[in-house]
């Protein structure tokens, strides 16, 4: 006779942990795994990338953190909504980017992510990974990569280095 061990109990995943945050009266979600830190607005340095064109208008600050420069995205400009008062900064994990938001709502788990309906055909296809249902609400789940693309990061870094070199020469 052989006694077989019962199947190893698998860890139950109820869903993907998300951080809910508010920008301009809308609640958004971002995967908690994509956020390295939530902090206040101290330590922000102004950035003036106007000469780089309107696409870079959303980058208004930089943040020095652990010897690394983060480009800070104004979420209102990114999502094309009217300005509101920011109180929190989401520092992203996978890129040298941080996002200015109005407030952090709470953490939650999202069981399933619905695809964005195909009727949405604009920039939102890049902004969102999909839509989540939270009770009776529909919450867009942001795609963190849309805040700072690799190309934007390279251009901004080069502009910053140029600015620093100019400052050194002038000094």
């Amino acid at each position: 006779m052989r006694i077989v061990r019962a199947e190893t109990r698998k860890r139950v995943h109820h869903g993907e942990p998300m951080i809910l945050f508010a920008v301009g009266g809308t609640t958004f979600a971002i995967a908690a795994a994509e956020v390295d830190e939530i902090r206040d607005l101290s330590g922000l340095e102004p950035l003036h990338p106007a000469h780089l064109g309107p696409k870079f208008a959303k980058f208004k600050h930089t943040l020095q953190r652990d010897g690394r420069t983060y480009f800070v995205v104004d979420a209102n400009t990114h999502f094309r909504v009217l300005p509101t008062r920011h109180t929190r900064l989401l520092v992203l994990r996978g890129a040298p980017a941080a996002v200015l938001v109005d407030a952090i709502d709470r953490m939650t788990e999202i069981a399933s992510l619905r695809p964005l309906p195909k009727a949405f055909a604009g920039e939102e296809r890049d902004w969102y990974r999909g839509l989540a249902l939270l009770k009776e609400d529909v919450v867009p789940v942001v795609a963190p990569g849309a805040f700072l693309s690799k190309a934007e990061g390279i251009v901004l870094k080069a502009a910053l280095e140029k600015q620093a070199a100019k400052g050194a020469v002038a000094g």
Binding site: P117, K118, A119, A121, L131, L133, V138
Partner: protein, 144 residues
């Protein structure tokens, strides 16, 4: 196009302000009662947000400003229609001003200069109703 037993095609007539428009009955799935519109930032023209309908997320497409102008009467109901993206079918909710009506009548060809999204005309007792193609309407607005 849906046809009645008499062989005439059917259309769903819907009001937008003082005017009525029509969709082929085959693309319409239901007339829904007012529901809470959920909106979030996007850049797609005519989209007003989404509805939750039987567990599905349904985009809401407000076509009234294009068809009757910005002063369209308040929309009270949602006409839910199918929209095709290649082989994929998706529901679209269209806010309308009042009750809808089913009509079976001949589809007359377009006369005069009308937008491409008007695919035909219905001659009713005291009005001429434009029959719309939702896909062409969206395409026209996207390139406007």
């Amino acid at each position: 196009m849906t046809r009645t037993f008499k062989g005439e095609p059917s259309f769903v007539l819907f009001p937008l302000g003082k005017k009525r428009f029509a969709l082929p009955a085959g693309v319409v799935t239901e007339l829904a009662r007012p529901d809470r519109l959920r909106s979030f930032p996007h850049t797609t023209r005519m989209l007003a947000g989404v509805l939750l309908r039987r567990g599905q997320i349904v985009p809401v497409c407000d076509i009234a400003p294009v068809l009757v102008g910005e002063d369209a009467a308040p929309r009270k109901f949602f006409l839910i229609a199918n929209r095709y993206f290649g082989n994929t079918r998706e529901w679209t909710a269209i806010p309308v001003s009042g009750e809808c009506e089913l009509a079976s009548t001949e589809l007359l060809p377009v006369t005069g200069k009308l937008p491409r999204y008007v695919i035909g005309l219905l001659s009713l007792a005291d009005e001429i109703v434009q029959v719309l193609d939702l896909g062409l309407l969206h395409a026209a607005e996207a390139t406007a």
